[in-house]
Amino acid sequence: MRGLKLPLSQTQRVRLQRAFEKLQSLSAKANSDASVTVADAIPVNYEDAFLKGYGTTDLNGELVATVCGVVERVNKLVYVRALRARYKPEVGDVVVGRVVEVAQKRWRLEINFSQDAVLMLSSMNMPDGIQRRRTALDELNMRSIFEENDIVCAEVRNFQHDGSLQLQARSQKYGKLEKGELLIIDPYLVRKSKQHFHHLEQFGIDLILGRNGYIWIGEHVEARDSMVIDQAKSIEQSTVVEGINRAYTPLEMRQNICRIANAIRVLTILGFNVDLNLIMETVELSSSLKIDIHDMLGSEFHVLVAEMEAERRSLTTKRKR
């Protein structure tokens, strides 16, 4: 979603401008010299010793930014953190990825990082739930667990010494994701929070906000308890899943999935952080105003969401004072 290419009428443009100005005036870090664009001079005390970090360069004795972003200062290091960059993983992040390769004892996943992440077979729970060593037979049956192009939810385990990423999917809430849709947004819009898995009870929908910008919205799947081994049930489940005439998602659930997906699309076009509260408020706004699901992508709704967010933030800042 690049750029605000919406056909706005004159009044809508004015309203949107006003909402954005209100939000800017309310922003907590109101230091306008923190954000820079290319070739802006970075305000630095030249008498102190400082280290030039990433995104800066020395031009005619002045420190100038080479990327558009936010100036960060850590002790003596001054660098510019670019916003529209690739995902920067941290250990413990929840990510959603797509399998691109099934290799020896591992899967390679694409997660919008500069390299493909690796999910080792040993970092994955076996389908029967027993903790055991992975045998050669397990290796040959890797495809029955994840195939190419499957969507997988996992957690960042660590970085290898060569810079590549290792993932793990040990808990029951991680694993293959089916029956839903995947949305790809910019990674900087998903902030680290306590909860990345959201089960929306009133809709029966699972919402997973991957920190790499991949967001999964799908039907709710019960997390199976790995300690309870129910052989017959697991075999029955796997054959039902593989059946070609699986029932389609019920229409009402599909409408909710589409509404949530469109709400996320609107928020990314407007550049707001995507978190659960904001998504739910946008969805409630659209259903309370009885806006058709496809009309949520129209310019009027974008302006309404911007105004709603400006209202909400001004109320929360007023409450704080």
Binding site: K5, P7, R98, E110, E147, E148, N149, D150, I151, K176, L177, E178, K179, G180, E181, L182, G218, R246, Y248, T249, L251, R254, Q255, C258, R259, A261, N262, R265, D292, I293, H294, M296, L297, G298
Partner: protein, 287 residues
Amino acid sequence: MVGLSVGEKHFIQGGIAQDLRSDGRKRLTYRPIYVETGVIPQAHGSARVRLGATDVIASVKAELGKPSALQPDKGKIAIYVDCSPTAAPMFEGRGGEELSTELSVALQRCLLGGKSGAGAGIDPTSLVVVEGKVCWDLYIDGLVISSDGNLLDALAAAIKAALSNTGIPKVDVAAETRSDEQPEVNISDEEFLQFDTSGIPVIVTLTKVGRHYIVDATSEEESQMSSAVSISVNRKGHICGLTKHGGVGLDPSIILDMISVAKHVSEQLINKLDSEIAAAEASEEES
């Protein structure tokens, strides 16, 4: 194109079957169309059309040339499409050539009419300057910048918008010339002739997924298609061209049904496109 998992494919097919696609559209709803005209100042006419994430540019250049001996009273029109590597990594080098030729041929069939020039969207007789000696050659180029499905519809819309934006310079012919001599022509810099683009058809592509057809498929939905039919319809409701894509065979009754659906959809599309083009021209004049 990134692959899709089995679960995602099933979800898309289910959506089409239930008349609720992944962005909330119905089966016969188009994505919002944005038109900008005059994007290439050096060309005689140009337009950029955005259909969701699909982005295409069409440009029209006119040069003076000699009409062919078989048709001395008609100008020449050539349409060519290029898929830029920025649209998809597979278009790099010669990868996009097959798709480019397929799109060029489909557009030529729909817009240029038969060999004798009958039934063309743009009347080639309006391009002639001096019969048998001097005529305008129109070169219409399409460029695909970003591909998210439904390239043919977007290109046809862009060509229609570019032709509405085209201004052919007025030509003054020196009066006294002998019949076997090449006449002198004076190309005016100020006065321009506009084309009458009401006869130019639009293209409606119907993609068949399962048992239903959808209009304006995204690239994910196109990956699920069994076959697709592109039908070119003009304002009067006449069919100007028909192209079938995809390997799966279709029953003739299905094709007839698709034609009637396309006629129905094309009415709204033509009206929407004309209003968007008018708005784009108006905003271009303002700026």
